[in-house]
Symmetry: C4
Subunit: 282 residues, 4 copies
């Protein structure tokens, strides 16, 4: 039991520093971690530029190893201070933490492996670990709630867009043909996506009058239907932002989520304890 | 009557499986159908890529025939199990079902017909048959209601955009002229659409200073007026999403705007007249 | 007086047909007018395509004269049947009506005048004459009211965008320089507009690393601030659509514009006559 | 004291003219200033066009000096008529005022300095000085309040976009490789930004089937997530536009959400405590 108490003491403190951000030490740790993450991603990027790689390859490698050792230490500390190390290790952020250090060690055995680059870039996902702890949690949760609530409408929208894109792409394949760059249906669908999303590279573009007329229709359609996902998400963000409008909890049935102008609980008709100067948070 | 009863029995069961999705068999049928539709569209796409066509043309043809026979069987079953086969056959989805199988049979008599490809691609529309039955019905109906309600505003917007595009296109035809790619008014209007919808291929672009100034105005205009359809649709989706929430009027104080889960009026605490089986749509 | 009555009789009837759309004759006239307008604009467009002009130039010229004579007759009839011909003649739509016929007559004296083409295209504006009379009036007025209400916010937004575009354009002129296509500040500002509005022709694009970094910032900025006009217009359309939410007029002070959930007049505290089954129109 | 009174008299009057816009002289001064600012920025722009510079270089230089002397006089007058000259001098607009005149004088000592051009262009920021005083203040403040309120949500959104762009860019670097223009991770990230913001220059575009598939996903993602900032800002503008409407809380029933013109509570008919000079902002 003393052992457990001793264990709890410094482990709990470590947990507070590493996983939380409400102490001064925790905040400094978070800021330090963000800087380390940004540095490590910057190193991966610069390493891919051949001119920089040739000139400063050794220096970048040293920074890379420094950051990796740091992240390894951090990973071990995280494993030590959580109560259920395995649960942490297989959680999303736990896997990202591991992926942040593995590629560098792997590169010792599989030198020159090109694909490890992207895994090393995944370190950028660790930035969300810090955000998760910070004051941005509430804001992010509003966005996530809004996107979750509009999930199904967005799927319906996406299926409609994909259907349109397949039909328009096939039509353009017929109208323009291979001579104008529409060499196959998949390529024509790629063109339709480039056009409908208003990206418009111009690597493939219609040459015939009929093709340009059809393209103009696809553009106006794409220009217009962007309104649909925007409408969906705006509607849900407005709802999500209004939710929790009142801090009131029904004194009888503990129900939450009352409207700003509610005076009685809508679930059990009990009167809500509205104090005159109640601060209404959004 | 016995005949009719027997008829009803297995026909009704078939109808439940093929047309509905609330039984286990119906759900499996739907999933199987989606996979078959996706496979058949994939085959059409791959067949249009000349490299794949050369290498696996025979294999693709066999899959095509397999899928066609499957869809033919399904079409016949649908005809058998509905009470009014003719009404089904001339409905939108009924015609799509027929168009999904016809081209393959036609290709026996009219070999090499290029245009059948697009008709075969129309199979992708059948995906909506499955959606129609599924849980997405409500979500889709909100979107459709919102778009229907904003139909007229969108038409006014489209006419305005087309008018602007015609006028700006003609102006650019005068300013830039054929030497810079603006060879005719229709082509200049095509440019104006490409620019105003912010697609921007760059296949035709102004070269003179005056043309670029005019183009900049068209871009800023296009960038700005995208706000209009977005505003229209957002406004209507917000309304459509709120509709159905409030079929209830407080019997005491006539207050409206009660939430879906409200059982008592939030203004005067009177009990709302919730009928047990009230269907709440949203 | 008899003279006046006779005058009133057929002139009033003509006014009803030409200017209004609530009689059968008026509706047919409107549909005929739309078709004539579309035909005349189509003729101008086709005439500018050199291949069509060579092959069917004479035919197009005949159609052009036919439409012009028709519009001339219509213009004279409009002048005759309105009570204040001069007021009509100098109104916006009156001037458009005149501009629709003038260029063809002018072309007799100033043959080959290139600039008359655009004036002839302005006929497309006449389409709004028909819309003005039709059922779309209300919908258009909601949009116009929303745009008017957000006029000032949009001007503030436009000034901000133009300021950003001038500063970013000048910066890119310094960073990239003439060798990469940024030959002058106006051209660089043109690039900044092309980029910030997400049009992206690609006729001028940054080549240096620093220029591409700056360009990426401009893109993300442009991608983000499109939200501002959209937010402004959406907010106003929602407001404009909600206006007249309640049909209630205060029985005491005749004030209108009460909220949906208002039970007492907000101006004089009189109780509103809320009938239980009141139909609330938007 | 007499000295001070004399001082106050003409200095106060000058302050009214230069800093305020509610007198006739103040308005004329503002309009004159706007014209001078626009002229000076126009001169900088035209000076950068080599053809114009060669032909009218001397003329432009004279206008430049004229404007600079004018702005210098204005700057001195501003310094004289404010009560705390230092505080003005180090304020944002004060620094902009100084930067507007410095480059021209500096060009005497550091001739041909290219970088002074951008500083001279910064004069365009002075346009906000005039706006700040004008009727647009309220409108701008609604926009600024909305953007401030959505600051955190937008940061969360930007971090998500940057993370996506880094990951997609790295993936494309692997898939496409240097042969197709994706020569390094930073360049691939630049491509990802160009694509996700739907700008789409087309200077770098995927050539392989797998790359085009990935690109299509990035486009649809970018096309979709534009809805998020739009939703955030729309939601906040709607709130900001409604804010200020409701400084009143009903003294009887604590109800909020009263309209600007409400004098009685719409829920319980109690009189609202409207102070006579209550400033209602919107």
């Amino acid at each position: 039991m003393t052992q457990n108490q001793h264990y709890t003491h410094w482990q709990h403190r470590l947990h507070e520093i590493i996983f939380e951000a409400d102490t001064r030490a925790g905040k400094y740790f978070d800021i330090f971690l963000i800087l380390a993450i940004l540095l490590s991603v910057l190193v991966v990027m610069m390493d891919s530029v051949s001119a920089i790689n040739r000139a400063h390859g050794t220096g970048l490698l040293m920074v890379e190893w420094g950051v990796t050792l740091l992240f390894t230490l951090e990973y071990l500390l995280r494993l030590i201070c959580v109560k259920k190390p395995l649960k942490y290790a297989i959680s999303f952020l736990g896997v990202v933490d591991l992926l942040a250090i593995l590629p560098t060690y792997l590169s010792l055995f599989v030198p020159g492996s090109h694909y490890l680059v992207v895994i090393r870039v995944l370190r950028v996902l660790r930035i969300f670990r810090v955000l998760k702890l910070a004051t941005y949690l509430g804001e992010a949760s509003v966005l996530i709630r809004a996107l979750k609530a509009s999930r199904r409408k967005i799927i319906v929208f996406l299926i409609t867009v994909l259907t349109l894109v397949i039909i328009f792409g096939s039509l353009m394949y017929l109208i323009e043909g291979g001579a104008n760059g529409f060499t196959s249906i998949p390529k024509s669908i790629y063109w339709a996506i480039v056009t409908m999303t208003t990206v418009g590279y111009g690597d493939i573009s219609p040459k015939t009058g009929m093709g340009q007329t059809m393209a103009a229709m696809v553009m106006i359609l794409g220009y217009g239907i962007i309104a649909v996902p925007t409408g969906i998400v705006t509607s849900e963000i407005t709802r999500a932002a209004q939710k929790g409008v009142t801090t009131q909890v029904c004194p009888e049935c503990m129900a939450e989520g009352h409207d700003l102008d509610a005076r009685f609980c809508k679930h059990c008709a009990a009167q809500l304890n509205l104090s005159p100067g109640e601060v209404i948070t959004r």
